[in-house]
């Protein structure tokens, strides 16, 4: 069975407020797609429309080729995991997980077989007879996952499934999510505001902001070659430096920065004199003999490297990484010259409203 999800011009308006603005999206069979974005970007409204919990004001949802307009939730054949877990508090874990089969009025042996299978998959077989309130956060979420899977659906919808959990628990559980989804051959749509989570689990990421899709791509594409400044800033950390195109030679642009320095970027698609913004990630900035001048303001240990923060002459804050800390070269207050890896830096046109507006989160 193939399950493809297609959204065509899907939108939702509440009076004057547009929560989702004409979104087009195709999720292929067995693909794991994450819808990522800040609070209020419309991602939860979107997944609820796919599930049938909210009715769209325009556009259509197609699941497995069939149009879903007017089809009630219970007829859509989906598995849904809620942010606040929503395990039925008065039923044991086993009864929770067997609810799906029970709703189809399957014989009791069949119900037991299905629930045992999925509880085993999430390693909760020994907690079968407990009530949800007796489990800790991670276990509750696993039970909730087993319940969603037990409905037998091939489409899994996850609404911020890990947001309520401790960060350490999240790290372990997200690999589990992906492993299970791939093992069972599910088409998965996962909603989250956590970009690290999105990067770890997804085949593809759909980045949303203010009701629209900003960009889609694999985690790698969005990290190394993001098409928009918002993406560059939202996914991973980056330095955004403003400047002008000074020279272009052989596909390499020389940019004069507002802070006085000059850097090279392996891109030549902006004409001379254009106002641009360079996005370069901290691991691609390094101290050199020439480049932009900056004064070190903070040094933080990040475990396998040091993060050094420095202020440029233009009061821009630049962060760069160093594997080792040479105390002679890098102490607070010291002046350094910073260069940039031309292959890793990305050029963008300078946004009209300014960089801060372009990356604003709320």
């Amino acid at each position: 069975m193939m399950v493809e999800v297609k959204l065509v011009g899907l939108g939702k308006r509440y009076g004057p407020v547009t929560a989702v603005d004409k979104v087009d999206l195709t999720v292929r069979d067995k693909e794991y797609v994450t819808i990522l974005g800040p609070s209020g970007c419309g991602k939860t409204t979107l997944i609820r429309m796919i599930a049938g919990i909210i009715e769209p004001t325009e556009g259509q949802v197609y699941i497995d080729g069939k149009e879903m307009t007017g089809v009630p939730i219970e007829d859509r054949d989906i598995g849904y995991v809620f942010q606040n877990i929503a395990l039925f508090p008065h039923l044991t874990v086993k009864d929770n997980v067997s609810y799906g089969p029970r709703a189809k009025d399957l014989p009791p042996e069949e119900q037991a077989r299905i629930s045992t299978r999925f509880l085993e998959m999430v390693k909760l077989l020994d907690k079968m007879e407990m009530l949800p309130g007796e489990l800790c956060g991670g276990e509750q979420q696993k039970a909730s996952l087993a319940r969603a899977l037990s409905s037998g659906s091939k489409l899994l919808l996850l609404d911020e499934p890990l947001s309520a959990l401790d960060s350490r628990v999240r790290v372990d559980l997200r690999y589990e999510l992906r492993r299970l989804a791939k093992e069972l051959g599910l088409t998965t749509i996962h909603v989250t505001h956590d970009q690290e989570e999105a990067q770890s689990v997804s085949d593809r990421i759909v980045l949303m902001r203010a009701g629209t899709v900003v960009e889609t791509g694999t985690p790698e594409e969005l990290y190394t070659r993001p098409k928009r400044i918002f993406t560059a800033n939202f996914i991973g950390e980056t330095n955004l430096l403003e400047g002008w195109v000074l020279e272009i030679n052989d596909g390499v642009s020389v940019i004069e920065l507002r802070n006085g320095g000059k850097v090279k970027v392996n891109q030549a698609d902006h004409p001379l004199g254009d106002a641009v913004v360079i996005s370069v990630r901290p691991e691609f900035v390094f101290p050199a003999d020439e480049g932009m001048k900056a004064r070190v303001t903070a040094i933080t240990y990040m475990g396998t490297y040091w993060r050094i923060t420095a202020n440029t002459e233009d009061e821009e804050e630049v962060g760069f990484d160093s594997a080792t800390l040479d105390e002679n070269l890098l102490t607070i207050g010291k002046e350094v010259y910073l260069a940039v890896n031309p292959k890793a830096a990305v050029l963008y046109p300078r946004p009209e409203d300014g960089v801060q507006e372009a990356i604003k989160l709320e």
Partner: protein, 363 residues
């Protein structure tokens, strides 16, 4: 600004020990993070320091003076809770000046403090707004301003960034720390997020089941964990079990398969069972250079600046490694690699009494 000293603080709820003999010293002007999983007793700790909860045993000293029995309002320790608890019927202005108002400060002082606070937290245009009209980040900054403006000496932060989006948290971390440092306050910040603790703290105290396992600078706690739990909770580690052959100048550990692994010197007697822990970021994998063990690459996950590599060893044990992303083209799933680490990066611990799995359990 005070120094805070906790001596033997204990609190039990029936069988559960929320605090089990806590000893802690916070220096004047220090930003201390108390890091631990949910249920470790972090909130109980803050509530006892603030006076909202009375300990069963133990003492609390502010600047050397015994404050254990003192009333909440006498302690001058402002608490910022996870939900912010902004008074809903008061404006931003009224919320921020609440502490001063209670103490009877005059209008001029209140005005002064208000203006500088609003400026500090970048809320200057919003003093007439009500809490429900503000976004999550703005609410957090208002609650912070309220605590900072209250004239308190000690700032107690209970997971102050938890309610915010991941991306926002990252931006506000540095802002929060610099605000506190600018005002030269002493802060005790409780969290479950290890990234947060490492970036913000002068010192980190790792807490679990009511006991403090280790206190040190972020670097100390990362490089020289005191127990396997700390080694795996602060960052992620790989663990290998075996018998100690020697413990100085470096430790040699022999696994069940007969492989000999090297780690930092320890004080574990020869012949004892021990566990060697190496951070996954320090676990190096290579196709050229020989190492301690061999393993097969199961899965590679792109995480931005790093790749997370999951491997399976010959004996069936699973380990992980973090390598920089530029190595992406050079490793693939199915490859056989050698696993190696610098001996100074491997820490050897005595085998924990309840077993390794129990020790590493987070919940």
């Amino acid at each position: 600004m005070p120094t805070v000293r906790l001596k033997g603080l204990s609190k039990s709820y029936g069988d559960i020990k929320a605090a089990d003999g806590l000893d802690l010293e916070v220096k004047d002007g220090e930003y201390l993070c108390v890091l631990g999983p949910t249920g470790a007793g972090k909130t109980t700790l803050l509530r006892m320091i603030s006076g909202l909860l009375a300990p069963d045993k133990g003492k609390i000293y502010f600047n050397g003076e015994d404050f254990t029995g003192k009333e909440i309002e006498e302690r001058r320790a402002a608490l910022l809770s996870q939900t912010y608890a902004l008074f809903p019927q008061l404006t931003v202005e009224e919320n921020i000046t609440f502490g001063l108002d209670i103490r009877g400060a005059d209008e001029k002082l209140k005005e002064q403090v208000l203006i500088s606070m609003l400026d500090l937290v970048r809320l200057s245009g919003r003093s007439d707004a009500f809490p429900r009209e503000l976004s999550g980040g703005m609410q957090q900054r208002t609650a912070l301003a309220r605590a900072l403006a209250s004239g308190a000496d000690l700032l107690l932060l209970d997971e102050p960034l938890r309610a915010l989006d991941a991306r926002l948290r990252i931006s506000l971390r540095t802002e929060l720390r610099s605000l506190v440092k600018t005002l030269k306050m002493t802060a005790i910040h409780v969290t479950h997020d290890q990234d947060e603790a490492l970036v913000m703290a002068d010192r980190v105290a790792v807490i679990r089941e009511g006991r403090i396992l280790q206190i040190g600078t972020p670097k100390e706690v990362w490089d020289k964990p005191a127990t396997p739990f700390v080694a795996n909770f602060v960052g992620q580690s790989n663990f290998f079990t075996g018998e100690v052959l020697q413990s100085s100048p470096y430790t040699l550990l022999r696994t069940a398969e007969g492989t000999v692994l090297k780690g930092r010197s320890s004080e574990i007697p020869s012949g004892a069972t021990a566990v060697l822990g190496v951070k996954i970021g320090n676990t190096e994998i290579s196709k050229e250079r020989p190492g301690y063990l061999k393993a097969k690459v199961e899965r590679i996950i792109f995480e931005g600046r790093n790749l997370h590599v999951d491997l399976m060893m010959e004996n069936g044990q699973r380990i992980s490694s973090k390598v920089p992303s530029w190595r992406k083209g050079k490793i693939a799933a199915g490859d056989q690699v050698d696993v190696y680490w610098e001996e100074s990066k491997g820490t050897v611990f005595p085998m924990p009494p309840g077993g390794l799995e129990n020790e590493l359990r987070v919940e």
